[in-house]
Every structure is written in structure tokens, then in C-alpha cells.
């Protein structure tokens, strides 16, 4: 036992364990950092977009329109691609042709933007209008990656040199990507946005909160204040605690079998999504509310009872107001879970391709996580950027909610 080598070995082992433990913590932290860094690196570009300033004269002749007062249905068949080509040809000197070779610089739906503008205000026909049109996907990446030659083989050298020239002339600007926040889903990355998904999430969460919070709080009050202590109640308590650990996808099955097939509600609507998520968050809210009620000291109850209050009055006037911050904290955490939940919503059909924002609870809608899932599956390269940007928005919302919950708890926490 007094062998110094023996002691040294024991100390070495002690140091080894200490380093292993530290390594585990460092590993966990680096996972957090890598995750946030990876998403940010991929998604930061989604919030900005390169736009080309281009002045376009709405020439009726080029568009193939007769007269200066076209009907909306005429506009539908007007030749906007030709107009775009001609405007580009007017901007870019040299090189003959009708300018159609330059349209590859711009996004596919650039001519649609011209159409939309003229449709909104037909009096613009024959006048000159300044536009800022989005560049095409490869052009944007070429500029982002600062002249990387990766695309030189895929794209004609002439186009690249033209792009460089346009940048030199100061005609290409980096702008905030407002489409991302104002548009619905789209097949093309440049015109896809999260507006309708955000609204869908909002409606779904609203339904979820309105259903789960009152029911959850009422259940918690019943268990803490009224329930007799017998075997049945214990069984129910275990039951609810287990409900919190049931995989979320099972709730999707429940929603599909009961809400959609039995009650006949339509698929993909926020109402059904909200109901399913409410069932899922119910255990979280019940458990949080119960511990909040338990934290109210019995002396408060006894004092109220002694002054002649009924049990309902004790609860309504004293217990619930005192426990409310704790209940709300639980509710916010539950809502944050619900906001990030995807799997049960896939099962009740919230994977529809939804362009227009939902106008009510019975309108087909996508929610933000499902939108992320759909975009992550899309083959176009531009969607990786958008997916990551959407994830950043989702994480920002979740962060705000969780910080709000922590602040609420700190603000109202009371030591009795």
C-alpha cells in the first residue's frame, strides 16, 4: 500500500476521470456551437438577396399589345420575356442579338414581376419604370463566393464577364429579402417565403393554447384541491405522467383516427393541428400547474377558509392568482414544444403545398416546422439557404418564448 508507484497510478486515474468528464462537457458545448454555427452559416444568405437595377419601358409594341388601355386578360398573354430581353440589351453594351441571352442572369420569375407591376397599374404602359430584379441562383452564388471559378465551366464566360461588369457599374445591390417574409410557399426558391407558414403556426398555436391551458389548469386544480386520495386517482396521475412520455407521433395517429375519421373534420387545417398539439401539450401544462399550485403554502388556504371563504372562493381568489405565473411558465414551455413539433402534423395532412396565407381556422395551412421539412426535401440548391433561414426564424421564436418563460418565473417567483 505504501508503494509510491501505486499512489501515482491512483492519482493518474483520478486525473483521467476528471479529463474525461471535462471532455464530455466540452463535447456537448461544441455540439451546441456547431449546430448554431452550421445553421447560421447556411441561412444567413437567405435574409439578403442580390438585385439588379434595371429600368424598363413598357413598350406596347414589344409586348404585343394594342392601344394604351389593355384589359387584364390581354396582359396575361403579353410577351414579357421579350420586354425583359430588350431592356437588358439596352442596359448592356456590345454583343448583338435581342438580349435574350442575358435573361439567364436574372431569376426565372423576373418577367412575372414585370407582369404583376403592369397588372397592378395599367397606366404605366408606355412609361419607363425602375425595377430591382432578383439575380438567378447561380449568379447569386457566384457573387457570394467572391469570384469562385466553380461556375465558370457551367456558365458561358460571356455571362460571367457581363455579371462582373454589372457589379463594377454598381448596378447590383445587396438588399434585404422581403419576399422571404411576405410570400407563401413556392416551387422556386427566389419567390418562396414563410409568411403563410408563420400565420399557420400562429393559428395552430392559438387553438392549442385556448384548448390546453384552461383544461390543463382545471385538471391540475382538481387533482391538487379536490381529488380524494384513492387508488383510482393515483392510477390517473401515473397515467397523465406517462402521457407526457408518449412519442409525439402517437398523438398524430390519435388525431387521424379520432378527429379526422370519427368527427369528420377536414385535413390540413389549423383547427385539427391545434387540437392534436393541445392533447400533446396537456400533460406538460398539467404537471407544471400542479407544481405551481403545490407551491402555494397551506397557510394561505387555511387563512381564507378561516375567514369564511368557500373552497371555490379559496381557489378562485387566492390559490389560482398566486399560482398563475408558474402555470403560465408551464404553458409557454408547452407552447414552445408545440411550435417546434412536426411529426403529428405530418400525419394529419399538414404537408400540403400552401401558397396563400390561411384566412381562418378551417383554411388549409402549413406550419413553420413542416415548411422546413418540405424545403429540406427540395432538390434545388437555393432551398438549403431558405431552409436554414426558416430554421433561424423558428429558433429565434423559440428562444424568445423560453427566455420569456425564464423571466416570468424570475419576476414572480416567491419564497414563502
Amino acid at each position: 500500500m505504501t508503494d509510491p508507484r501505486h499512489l501515482a497510478r491512483r492519482y493518474r486515474r483520478a486525473r483521467l476521470l476528471r479529463w474525461c468528464c471535462l471532455a464530455a462537457v466540452v463535447f456537448a458545448l461544441s455540439c451546441v456551437m456547431l449546430l448554431l454555427f452550421d445553421i447560421t452559416r447556411k441561412g444567413i444568405g437567405g435574409f439578403s438577396v442580390q438585385r439588379l437595377s434595371l429600368s424598363v419601358r413598357f413598350d406596347p409594341e414589344l409586348l404585343g399589345l394594342e392601344g394604351l388601355e389593355p384589359r387584364p386578360e390581354d396582359l396575361q398573354f403579353a410577351d414579357f420575356p421579350a420586354l425583359l430581353s430588350a431592356s437588358l440589351a439596352a442596359l448592356i453594351p456590345g454583343a448583338g442579338g435581342d438580349g435574350s441571352q442575358w435573361t439567364a442572369l436574372l431569376d426565372d420569375n423576373a418577367d412575372f414581376l414585370l407582369y404583376e407591376r403592369l397588372l397592378a397599374d395599367p397606366r404605366l404602359l408606355g412609361t419607363e419604370v425602375g425595377f430591382e430584379l432578383p439575380l438567378s441562383g447561380w449568379a447569386e452564388r457566384y457573387l457570394d463566393e467572391a469570384g469562385s471559378k466553380q461556375y465558370a465551366t457551367l456558365v458561358e464566360a460571356e455571362l460571367l464577364s457581363t455579371l462582373d461588369w454589372l457589379v463594377e457599374q454598381g448596378l447590383v445591390h445587396l438588399r434585404f429579402n422581403d419576399t422571404f417574409f411576405s410570400a407563401g410557399d413556392s416551387r422556386s426558391p427566389s419567390s418562396a417565403g414563410i409568411h403563410s407558414a408563420l400565420l399557420g403556426s400562429l393559428y395552430t398555436l392559438l387553438v392549442c393554447f385556448l384548448l390546453s391551458f384552461p383544461v390543463g389548469v382545471a385538471t391540475a386544480i382538481y387533482f391538487e384541491e379536490f381529488a380524494p386520495s384513492n387508488r383510482w386517482i393515483t392510477l390517473l396521475e401515473i397515467n397523465i405522467n406517462n402521457l407526457a412520455a408518449v412519442p409525439s407521433i402517437i398523438f398524430g395517429l390519435l388525431g387521424l383516427a379520432v378527429v379526422i375519421n370519427f368527427f369528420g373534420l377536414p385535413r390540413s387545417v389549423p383547427l385539427v393541428g391545434g387540437i392534436v398539439l393541445a392533447l400533446m401539450t396537456l400533460p406538460t401544462i398539467i404537471i407544471a400547474s400542479r407544481s405551481a399550485i403545490r407551491a402555494v403554502p397551506p397557510s394561505v388556504r387555511e387563512a381564507a377558509l378561516a375567514l369564511g371563504a368557500s373552497r371555490m372562493e379559496v381557489i378562485g381568489h387566492h390559490v389560482v392568482p398566486l399560482a398563475l405565473p408558474g402555470m403560465l411558465t408551464g404553458a409557454i414551455i408547452g407552447m414552445a414544444q408545440a411550435l417546434g413539433e412536426t411529426a403529428p402534423l405530418l400525419l394529419i395532412g399538414m404537408v400540403a403545398f400552401v401558397v396563400s396565407p390561411p384566412t381562418g381556422l378551417m383554411d388549409p395551412a402549413a406550419v413553420l416546422p413542416v415548411q422546413i421539412f418540405l424545403w429540406a426535401d427540395s432538390p434545388e440548391r437555393g432551398f438549403i439557404e431558405l431552409t436554414s433561414a426558416a430554421i433561424m426564424v423558428l429558433l429565434a421564436f423559440l428562444g424568445v418564448m423560453n427566455i420569456g418563460a425564464v423571466l416570468l418565473r424570475r419576476r414572480f417567483e416567491r419564497r414563502w
Binding site: R13, A14, R15, L16, L17, R18, C21, L22, A23, A24, V25, F27, A28, L29, C31, V32, L35, L36, V215, A218, T219, Y222, F223, F226, I238, N239, I240, N241, N242, A245, V246, P247, I249, I250, F251, L253, L254, A257, V258, F262, L282, S310, M312, L339, G340, E341, A343, L346, L347, V370, I372, F373, A376, D377, I384, I391, L394, L395, L398, N402
Partner: protein, 447 residues
């Protein structure tokens, strides 16, 4: 409208209550109890009737339009539901070439409006009636507060029933559909079959139209992915917990724990994205550099990322248990000359072991039930293989693929998803119950 009526009645009752109070002075409860009572009398029956009529709107319409629907049944292959929908579409479009259809559509619109009007009138009438009842009940003989409290108690009880019904609902909905599935596919084939290819089941009348529903490859896939996840989460989580509870200072702990728990708040779809687009290509490159064949969707990527996902879960559960070990045990070990490492491995960990096992089982149950990561990163092909570099599919992935998109609800393909759900539910539930029992036994040891 019923709500507005209710508030009117409530206010009126309140005024009445005040006068009665001042005249007689011996009411059984406060005026506002009577007011709320009257409002409820007004609101609840009216609301119930309103919702009932609203829900039965289509039935009523079909009853009114019985003759028209029978005559027009040829429009939609004899199903009156579709005829009704068709007529409603015609009304929206504002015209139809067939005069008979157009007339029927107009009748349909007229009846629809009539039902709407009657529904509202009926609701208002009942609300007024309820209001009158509530009004008349403002008397010393009726004890409004007691009634209200009984009502509130009823609400609490009803809410509790909702929570309980959810569980019952899960069990019954999943069980019922699974039984229908097992009437088509023998349970033994399901549990022991080595081949999973439900896709053939949709083509009727073809050879092998019953599909193959052998669930073993799915269980193997689930096990492999969960095993990889646990190999990441268990050591890292446990060692991290030891660091936080034994080595780290209180200040470091207060900073580190919330930072690591950021991982809990990240939605699973985000992990899925990372697994599919960042980790899987990395593993593929690495594998090719080592000369291995790696599927681009492999179980390893999904498992690793899932391990990171449940790491903070294991960490905070273990941290709680390790912190709960009494300080006297630690001090005793140190006093006998143990190094800190010996104290941890020979005294603290054995004492905390039941709790750690319980937490580990909960983590396994979470890994088995996890959906989005595997849907996005683990692939769809049901390979019976134990090589984590292959594409693999899990129970949850198959539930999603079977149920996403349009499907006939009676096909064995759809019902198979419910049978999978049932097995998932049973496995996770038993893991949870076991972990609960283990943890409970541990608690008895020190209390």
C-alpha cells in the same frame, strides 16, 4: 349573438339583484353570483342548440332537398353527399347549363339561408328564455353561489375527464384499427415476418396484393439507430453530469447547464436537417476515404444526431440523481482516503445507479419514438441488416410514409401504420413504467 344576449341578461339580473337586495336584504348570495348564474342560463342552452344545428346543417339540408337529390343522383354516381357539394359549388359559380340543376341549386341556397336564419332565431329565443329563468331565480330561496360552485366543480371534473379520455382515446383508436389490420394480416406474420414491403398492397387483384408486413426489419432498424444514439448520449451525458455535479464550481454550473440545455429546445426537424444535410455527407466522405461503401442516407448519421438530441436529457436526469446522493457518503469515502475518482466510481455512482438506469430507459424510449430525424436522414428501404452504414428504416418512419399523402382508409397499408403505432406505444409505455419502478425503488433506499 347568444353571447351578447347573455351579457344583457346578466346585467339585467344584476340590476334586479341589487333592488331585491335593498328591498328584502336577505339574499342567499352576492348579486354577481345571481348575475353569472343568469348569464350561464342564457348562454349554455342556446350555445348547445346553436352548435347542434350547425353540426347537423348538412343533414337538415339533405332532408329538405330529398327529392332533388334523388333526381340528380346520377350526377355523382349515386352518392347524395357529392350531389350536395356539387349544388353548393354551382351556387358559388352562379349558373349551370342544366336548368334543373340550377333550380335545385337555388333551392339549396334558399334552404341553407333559411336554416341559418332559424338557427339564429332559435338561439336568441332560447337565450331569452334562459335569461328569464335566470331572472326569476333571483330570490332568497335559490342559493346561487352553491349552484355556481357546483357548476365550477363540474367543469373541473370534466376537464380531468378530457385528460383521461386522451389516454383512453389513444389506446382505443390505435387498438381498434390494429384489430382491423390483424383481421387481414395474421399477428404472427406481422411480428415474425422478415420482409416489409407494404407498397404492393395498394394494387388490387395483382399477385402478392396482400403486401408483406413483416415487422422485424423495422425493429432491427429502430434498434440500430437507438443503439448508436445511446452510445453517444449515455457516456457523454453521464460524464457531463459527473463534471457538473462533482467537479464544476457553482458558477460554472449555472452557466454550463443552461447552455447545454439549449439542445433540448431545438425542434427535431432542425436535427433532421442537420443529420441529412451536414452529418450524412460528412460520414459518406469519411467512409469513402476509408474505402467503405456508405449509403447516402445511413443509420449512423441519424443515430449520431439523435444521440446529441437526447444527450441533455440524459445529462440533466443523471445530474439530478447524482446530486441527490447524500453528502455524508462522499465525505465518508474521502475520509477513508479515496481519491475523488475512487469516491465517484465506487461510492457515488453505485448509489445513483438505479436512478441512472431509470433515466437511461427513459432516454431509450425517447430515441425509439423519435420521428423527424430518422424520417429525414435514415432512409425508407427496409433492409434487414445490422450495419449502421446502410440505409435503414424505423417504425416511426414507416408510420409517416404509410400515412402521408392520400390513402384509402380501409386498406391494410393504412391500417398497418396503426399496428406499428400500437407496438411503439406498448414498447415506450413499458419502458416508462419500468423506469418509474426502478426510480421508485431507489428513492426508498435513502428516505
Amino acid at each position: 349573438m347568444a353571447v351578447i344576449g347573455a351579457s344583457f341578461a346578466g346585467r339585467r339580473a344584476k340590476r334586479q339583484a341589487v333592488t331585491v337586495l335593498s328591498d328584502a336584504g336577505r339574499l342567499g348570495a352576492l348579486p354577481r353570483h345571481y348575475a353569472i348564474c343568469a348569464a350561464l342560463w342564457c348562454l349554455l342552452p342556446a350555445l348547445a342548440v346553436y352548435i347542434a344545428v350547425l353540426a347537423g346543417h348538412e343533414q337538415l339540408l339533405r332532408w329538405y332537398l330529398g327529392d332533388d337529390l334523388r333526381q340528380l343522383a346520377h350526377l355523382a354516381a349515386g352518392d347524395p353527399r357529392w350531389v350536395l357539394q356539387l349544388l353548393q359549388e354551382v351556387v358559388v359559380n352562379g349558373g349551370h347549363e342544366d336548368a334543373m340543376v340550377w333550380e335545385a341549386a337555388q333551392r339549396c341556397a334558399a334552404y341553407s339561408t333559411r336554416i341559418d336564419v332559424w338557427r339564429t332565431v332559435l338561439a336568441i329565443a332560447i337565450a331569452t328564455g334562459g335569461g328569464v329563468v335566470g331572472y326569476l331565480q333571483v330570490s332568497p330561496a335559490i342559493r346561487a353561489r352553491h349552484r355556481l360552485e357546483r357548476f365550477a366543480y363540474g367543469c373541473l371534473l370534466a376537464s380531468t375527464c378530457v385528460a383521461v379520455l386522451t389516454t383512453v382515446g389513444i389506446v382505443f383508436s390505435v387498438l381498434f384499427e390494429s384489430l382491423r389490420f390483424f383481421s387481414a394480416v395474421p399477428p404472427l406474420d406481422f411480428l415474425l415476418g422478415l420482409h416489409w414491403s407494404p407498397q404492393t398492397a395498394i394494387r388490387e387483384g395483382q399477385e402478392g396484393s396482400s403486401g408483406a408486413f413483416g415487422v422485424v426489419p423495422l425493429f432491427v432498424g429502430t434498434l440500430v439507430v437507438s443503439a448508436v444514439a445511446m452510445m453517444v448520449a449515455l457516456p457523454a451525458g453521464l460524464l457531463g453530469a459527473i463534471h457538473l455535479s462533482e467537479y464544476a464550481s457553482q458558477r460554472a454550473r449555472n452557466i454550463l447547464k443552461p447552455l447545454i440545455e439549449i439542445l433540448v429546445g431545438v425542434p427535431t426537424v432542425v436535427y433532421g436537417f442537420i443529420a441529412a444535410l451536414s452529418v450524412a455527407p460528412l460520414i459518406k466522405q469519411l467512409g469513402e476515404w476509408l474505402g467503405l461503401t456508405v449509403a447516402s442516407e445511413n443509420a449512423l448519421a441519424a443515430g449520431l444526431v439523435m444521440g446529441v438530441m437526447i444527450l441533455p436529457f440524459v445529462l440533466s436526469l443523471s445530474d439530478d440523481v447524482i446530486s441527490a446522493v447524500p453528502a455524508s457518503l462522499r465525505e465518508g469515502a474521502l475520509a477513508l482516503g479515496a481519491t475523488p475518482a475512487e469516491m465517484i466510481t465506487q461510492v457515488v455512482l453505485p448509489a445513483a445507479l438505479p436512478g441512472i438506469i431509470g433515466g437511461g430507459l427513459l432516454a431509450v424510449s425517447r430515441a425509439i419514438g423519435e420521428t423527424m430525424i430518422v424520417v429525414m436522414a435514415a432512409g425508407l428501404a427496409a433492409n434487414l441488416s445490422a450495419n449502421p452504414l446502410d440505409a435503414m428504416t424505423t417504425v416511426t418512419v414507416q408510420i409517416v410514409t404509410l400515412l402521408v399523402g392520400d390513402q384509402a382508409f380501409d386498406s391494410p397499408k393504412t391500417l398497418a401504420a396503426f399496428a406499428l403505432g400500437l407496438s411503439l406505444f406498448i414498447v415506450t409505455l413499458s419502458l416508462n413504467v419500468i423506469s418509474l419502478l426502478v426510480v421508485r425503488r431507489y428513492h426508498e433506499a435513502y428516505d
